[in-house]
Each structure stands twice: as C-alpha cells, then as structure tokens.
Amino acid sequence: MKNLTKTVVLVLAIAVVLTGCKQPTQLINDVKAAIETVTTAGADKYAPEELKAVNDDLTKALDEIAAQDKKFFKKFGPAKEMLVALQTKVADLQAALPAKIEAAKNVAIQLQGEAQAALTETAELLKKAPKGKGTAKDLEALQADLTGAETMYTEIQAALDANDYIGAQDKANAVKAKVAAIADQINAAIAKVKR
C-alpha cells in the first residue's frame, strides 16, 4: 500500500511536470477568438483604448509563454493565469460594449444637434447681416458656403442610420467647424460695415 501511494505521487508529479511543459494553446486560441469577436462587435471603434489594453495584455502573456519556451524547466502557470485574467477582461469588455456604443450614439446625436443649431444660427446671422456697401458680395458668397454646409449636414443622419456613430461624430464636427468659420466671416463682414 505504501509503495502504491509512492507510485501514485510520483506519477502525479511527472504528470504535473509534463503538463507544465505544454503551452496553453487552447487557452491562447480561446482568448484570441474572444478578442476577434469583441473587435468585430465594434470594440475597435467604440472602445479602442480598452481593446488596445486587451491586446497588450495578450502580447504580455504570449511574451511570457515565449520566454518560458526557451527554458529547460518550463513554467506556463503564470502565463495561464494572465490568460485566464485576460479572458475575464475581454468578457467584461464584451459586456460593456453595448453601453459604449449607446454612449457614442448619444454623442453623435448631440453633435448633430449642435451642427443643426450652428446652421440655423448662422443662417439667421446671414439674414440679419446688412447687405450694404462692401458686404453684399461677401455675404452672397458666404450664403453659397452655408448652402454647401447644409448639404453636408444630411450625411450626419446617413451615418447615424448606418450605425456609424464615430463617422457621424466626425461629420458633425467637420460641419460645425465649417459653419463656425462661415459665422466668423459673416461677423467680419458686419464689422466692415460698422467701421
């Protein structure tokens, strides 16, 4: 009985050593697949920082595996722990993603509203601007610029409809920037009349 116990302990010890020599290939593949899934779900767009952190952690785990691989006595335990922790991190990211997408959508909608408000305000400013000596020509040209910006405004809604919230944000910001520049020029034209 005593010998049998010793044998079992020895076999287990060898099994542990043998298992320790093996790379956690399945775990690596699972983590990578999870990262691919979360990326496809929009993490690259809506959670780029978190996705980068996850990828960096994966790199660290893979570096650890590569470092152990070079050793005579390989110890993949810490790398496995890193990968298991990473699995949780990716799962958390996956769970948090819908809220992040919703937040991006809300920001896009807010920026769209701001772009619309800027267009309306600038159109009003243009209407009220005195088309007198020295301004009529400039104001006509600025009206054409504003018409161009109004046309581009429609692209914001198109991006929202296509669930491209980051694209919608960029478009709204670009329209806002142009409209702000037009408003500045209108104010400059008005100031020219007042001088």
Binding site: K133, T135, A141, N173
Partner: protein, 370 residues
C-alpha cells in the same frame, strides 16, 4: 534496494519525463513565427493584406501540427529538421509581409498627406478666384463641401484610418472637380481666342481714339475688375471696380444683372445720385439691340423681357453688388467724374489677355478636366 520493482518503475518514468523535456529542442523559429503572427495581427494584417495574413496563419497552424506530431514520438525518434525548414521559410515570409504592411501604411500616410495638400491648394485657389466674380454660388457651394470632406478626412488620419481618410478626401476631390467645372463653364467664353481678340481690338481702339483726339477714354476690364482712365493715349489712373451678381456675363436683357460689353459713350452725368455720383452710358447700342433681337428669336430670354438700360458708372463702393452697373469707391468716383464729360468713350471688355489673370487658372482647370 528495498523494492527493486518500485525503483525500476520510477527509473522508467523518470526517463520518460526527461525525454519529454530534454529531447531535440523545438525549433527556435516556432517561437519567432508565433510572435510574428501576433505582430502581423497587431499591424493590421487582417485588414491590409487579409489573404496573405490568412496564408501565414495557415502555414503556422500546419507547422504547429507537424511539431505536435514530432512531439508525440518518443524523444530519441524526434526529428524537427523538415519542419524547421518550413518554419524558416514561414518566418522569412512573415517578416517580409510585416515589412510590406508597415510600408503600405507609411505609403498610405504619405499619399494622404500629398492628396490633402493638393486638395487644400485647390480649395485655396478656388476661394481666391471666386473673389473675382460674383456668380459663384455653384463654385462656392462645392468648395465648401470639399472643405468639410477634407476636414473629416484629417480626423480619420489622426485615427490612422488611412483607407477611409483617402476615400473621404477623394469625395472632397470630386466636389472640387465640380467647382472647377462650374468655374470653367462660367468663364469659358473668356478663353476663346476670337472673343479675346475682339476685346483687345476694342480696348486698343479706345486708347487710339484718346490719343488721336486728345481726349479721355475709359476702359473697363471685367475679369480683372479694373477701370483704366486714358488721357491723350496715356493711362492716367486705374481703379478697382465692382460689378453685378452676374457681372461677368454680357448683358442681354433687363434684370439679368449682367454688365454689358461694348463701346459706349457717357450720355449724362449726375452729381448727386442714389450711389453718390453717377454717369449714364448709352447702353443699349446697335450691337446690343442686334444681340437682343437674335436671343429673343432663339427663345434664349424671357418673352416679356425688355432690353433694359440705365447702365451707369457710379459710386457706392467697389464691393457692393450692382444690377449691371460699374461701381467705384466714392473717392475714385470723384476723380473719374471730374475727368470724364458727356461724350467720353467707355469701353467695357471681358478681358484683354489670359496671363496674370484668374483665366490662367481657369484654363488649367479646363486642361485638368480634359
């Protein structure tokens, strides 16, 4: 030795264990290939070179399986030589692919920077030339749209979205193409050599008349937005002028807000007018009446439209939009009013040359479009 059987088993298991971990080592290229796969993944291999990246992954998988097959063998019988050769090639291919991806990205960034620079220059050029003509709605609308697209593209580049940025900048380029086409349409007749020759002839005749009769002659150049006053054949002064909304078009009928082209005379002077001081010219002349009748016959103008009149040189400022008249700053109007008399010739031409005018740029747009 208390238990030789236990010792024997322990010895065999010990050998197995040692063999498992201390047999011909796995080729070092395996770790490199594995790391390379990560590098390719992070560099965006799946986006930039998806086919090649998938090929690399397949090669890595195949090599992994062959290593696994070797590992399954008893240590002394393992031979990694064939798979090592395979891995060496895979690593070389992977490194080449990584270089290609990085080069590709750098090239995309450079290409974008160049195209953004070109677009910005085109935008600036179009904004500048639209200062010279008022009928610029189509041009300005498209330039405004292009500017928004370029701004959007720059935001994308900041996020390293080169493909999307280039596509967006490309859309901006299309708006600029349309703006340039609109500018060419507007000014195409100014590039016609026959038309230019006629205008040069008129302007030359006005200067000759001033010299021959020792009188004052006024020449208005619409595209350059200049009025030159000649006295005894010499240019006495040149002033900046303003025209109507459609000032670069030749006046055809009442209300078209175009400025007529031709040889006219001052027929009346008004020391106090709505626009400071004014001098009426004898539009329409015989040529204008002929052109009006022809256009009406061809249905080119509204049936009820008259030929119009009351074309003046007046004050009020060069930046104000006229209804077809020629506007001057009040201080300039004072000079011109003092020098000119009833009967003074006023020659209005579109242009006298292409060089050093916006027409040179319009000509370039036309060539680019072709």
């Amino acid at each position: 030795m208390k238990n030789p059987r236990f010792a024997g088993v322990a010895c065999v298991l010990g050998l197995i264990c040692c063999n498992a971990c201390n047999t011909p080592p796995e080729p070092p290229e395996a770790a490199r290939a594995s790391a390379l796969e990560q590098d390719l993944w992070r560099a965006g291999g799946s986006l930039f070179t998806p086919r090649e990246y998938e090929g690399f992954k397949a090669g890595l998988k195949s090599a992994g399986e062959r290593i696994g097959a070797e590992e399954a063998k008893f240590g002394w019988f393992r031979d990694y030589t064939p798979v090592q050769a395979e891995l060496k090639k895979l690593v070389a291919d992977g490194e080449a692919l990584l270089r290609r991806i990085n080069d590709n990205k750098a090239a995309k960034a450079r290409t974008f920077a160049l195209s953004a620079e070109t677009l910005a220059a085109r935008i600036e050029s179009l904004y500048r030339i639209t200062q010279y003509f008022n009928e610029n709605d189509d041009v300005r609308k498209n330039v405004s749209q292009a500017e928004i697209k370029l701004s959007e593209a720059r935001m994308l580049v900041a996020k390293e979205k080169y493909e999307l940025a280039s596509a967006t900048a490309g859309e901006g380029g299309l708006f600029l193409d349309r703006a340039e086409e609109a500018a060419v349409r507007l000014l195409e007749r100014y590039l016609d050599s026959g038309q230019l020759a006629k205008w040069r002839r008129w302007a030359g005749a006005a200067v000759e008349e001033s010299l021959a009769k020792s009188t004052v002659s006024i020449v208005v150049n619409k595209v350059e937005r200049k009025m030159t006053v000649y006295k005894k054949g010499e240019a006495k002064a040149t002033f900046d002028i303003g025209l109507g909304k459609y000032g670069l078009s030749d006046k055809l009928y009442a209300g078209d807000e175009a400025t007529p082209e031709g040889r006219y005379k001052i027929v009346a002077k008004f020391p106090a007018s709505e626009f400071y001081k004014a001098m009426l010219i004898d539009y329409p002349n015989e040529d204008d009446k002929r052109a009006f009748a022809e256009a009406k016959n061809k249905g080119l103008i509204p049936g009820h439209a008259g030929i119009g009149g009351a074309i003046e040189i007046h004050g009020g400022g060069k930046d104000s939009l006229t209804k077809g008249c020629v506007g001057l700053e009040n201080k300039d109007m004072d000079d011109v009013y003092a020098w000119a008399e009833v009967g003074t010739s006023v020659t209005i031409v579109g242009a006298t040359g292409i060089e050093n005018t916006i027409l040179a740029e319009i000509l370039m747009f036309k060539k680019n479009a072709n």
